[in-house]
Subunit: 184 residues, 2 copies
Amino acid sequence: MRVLKYAILGLLIKRPMTGYELAKEFNFELAEFWHASHSQIYPELKKLNDEGLVTYDIEISGDILEAKRYSITKQGELEFTQWLHKDEKIPKTQKDIFRLRMYFSNNLDPKTRIHLLENQRQQHLKRLNTLVKTSEQYPEVPDLYSDRFGDFVVLKGAIMRQENIIAWIDQCIGYIEAGIKDKS
Amino acid sequence: MRVLKYAILGLLIKRPMTGYELAKEFNFELAEFWHASHSQIYPELKKLNDEGLVTYDIEISGDILEAKRYSITKQGELEFTQWLHKDEKIPKTQKDIFRLRMYFSNNLDPKTRIHLLENQRQQHLKRLNTLVKTSEQYPEVPDLYSDRFGDFVVLKGAIMRQENIIAWIDQCIGYIEAGIKDKS
DNA sequence: ATCATACATGTCAATATTTACATGTTGATT
DNA sequence: AATCAACATGTAAATATTGACATGTATGAT
């Protein structure tokens, strides 16, 4: 499906970037729902260049340090736009290791289950707080055609997702605590 | 991390299963948060057998059709339980192609965005209805030590996750409709 | 008898992803 | 002058995953 291809093309529409800068993008806001490391990005850029979807200019910093600043071509924009317009089937599976653990949780004693759940809860809460702090940069909904609009809606989505996971964890803890009481 | 290894071991604790049956498991309830196809499962079973974590007996159906029914060994149970007890860092990224699209949605005209969102909404709603119907099999919270407890909590989680995605989609549609009005 | 569906097991090639290996520069601080 | 963090680009090996290729049996319905 070559999602990375389209992720890179989409980023390059915003502005020309080096591989290093692209890698950084995949480690900040974008990281909530897509990630790629530089070992994937550099080969993909080479491939996109071979396919004529991007071009690059070499920039020199200092005396000799070279950086390739990639730009999207007309053909690249065309293919990206076609991809973006496509309806898509929702994925059957959203992989989640912790849910897999909980699926098998009857093999754990209740106290351990609660410990694991609270550990996850704490981490998700921390993440949520970071996201909420980031969202303060958006006092209102950005203009529909600004590229901040996309940032904004996926950030909202990430916040809602975190809140939902925490709510689920709390319910799980509730079920287990109720189950312990029933026994006594 | 070999998650598939532990997923298989966990399933085999419930009851001995053939590769075919394991593949079916990964296509029903479990599919919401973990999937593997038979082309992954058969080699993994072979590997687990080599490692002494599972064994199998051959069953004959009809005249000659052979099936290998795998069981977990003591060592397998040990390794599975160790894995299950481990605290785990939450993943930095939960990959989601549709959110990636929405991140780039400023490149689409508002009507197309709403079309894409409503298409997703409809699919997620259908999924949600299926999950809710399944949840009717649980009139009350199963016993903590029954293996239905795990099924139950992850099913609850899947329902909450679907509801949350739909709520996010509705918010996105709301933002876009409000944005269109502002222009006129 | 034929047909369709479910049962049953495997391999292979291509793609995707992660982690480690590998190297070097620039600019700011101490 | 030394050190550190950030900039910058790549390759290699291992693992994970998907989709196609490949083959055949059992059972129930028509």
